[in-house]
Symmetry: C2
Subunit: 173 residues, 2 copies
């Protein structure tokens, strides 16, 4: 199945010069979603994943679907102030300024093999922060799974110590 044809390209969103890869057209097609999740499942089913972590908010969709299929726990990564129990926080740099993500401290068990799942990888800043956060809490980052990889932004450079699996690649904007 040609998953790339399920993605809608929207020019100049959120700002001029950017082509936004819109996954809502994929979400509307249950056959394509079933295929997507089965591709992830096939790759990870024998890799002893103990926990899937997904960043808000589109990472919640693919992360929780794969967790359901692999029958493993799911833990949300959120913007600061959203998670109600005790959290660990990691800041990361944006083009202008900084941002941060948090996870519940009790989401991670020492030595757990953890897979981070998101819809899209761009520069890799958020993912690098997620890996640092998980490792600081004693988790073992098994790798990253993405629906879409914007390879022209070289995200694998930031994540070179990790296994990366993606289903759709864009080599240019």
């Amino acid at each position: 199945m040609d998953l790339k044809s399920e993605i809608r390209n929207i020019k100049d969103f959120p700002k001029p010069g950017i082509v936004f890869r819109d996954i809502t057209t994929l979400l509307k097609n249950p056959d394509a979603m079933k295929y997507t999740i089965s591709q992830f499942k096939e790759y990870y089913k024998d890799k002893k994943v103990d926990l899937i972590v997904g960043p808000e908010s589109r990472g919640f969709i693919f992360g929780s679907l794969l967790a359901h299929e692999l029958h493993v726990p799911f833990a949300p990564l959120r913007k600061p102030g959203k998670l109600p129990a005790e959290t660990e926080k990691e800041e990361y740099e944006l083009e202008y300024g900084t941002d941060a993500i948090e996870i519940h401290k009790d989401a991670i068990n020492q030595g757990d093999n953890i897979l981070i799942v998101d819809d899209l990888i761009a520069t890799g800043g958020t993912c690098e922060a997620a890996a640092k956060l998980i490792e600081r809490l004693g988790g073992n980052v098994l790798g990253f799974a993405f629906l879409i990889e914007l390879s022209f932004l070289n995200p694998r450079e930031k994540l070179k110590n990790y296994d990366i699996f993606s289903l759709i690649e864009y080599k240019e904007e």
Copy 2:
């Protein structure tokens, strides 16, 4: 299975006097998640659902899981400015001020039977706005599914024209 025991209660979050019902403990338990989704599926499997709509961001989890199980499309409801294609917007009142939600116009087909899924229903303000939005775009709101219903806030009053199915009820704060 006693799903209520899978929910963590956190006092005074996000502000004093509120008991926050934390679903991250449920998300960590794949057996409980499997049971949750099977309960939703059992209730809706013969109800001819054409589309599931879920509000960001915890609604993405339960909405997309049930859409996957029923093999129907999923459409996200988001805060303004997040969805990249042409949207329809609905404002609604909060305790102080207003908020708004958006959906892609092309997410809704005329006459579609649409189920709205979220993790929790409190006063029902967001859900009432979601129903208005969907109906304005020609969709037929089949009903609402929630993991948690805060019945002491009387959400069914605002949604009295719709079928509501919830798995966990809290009769007091």
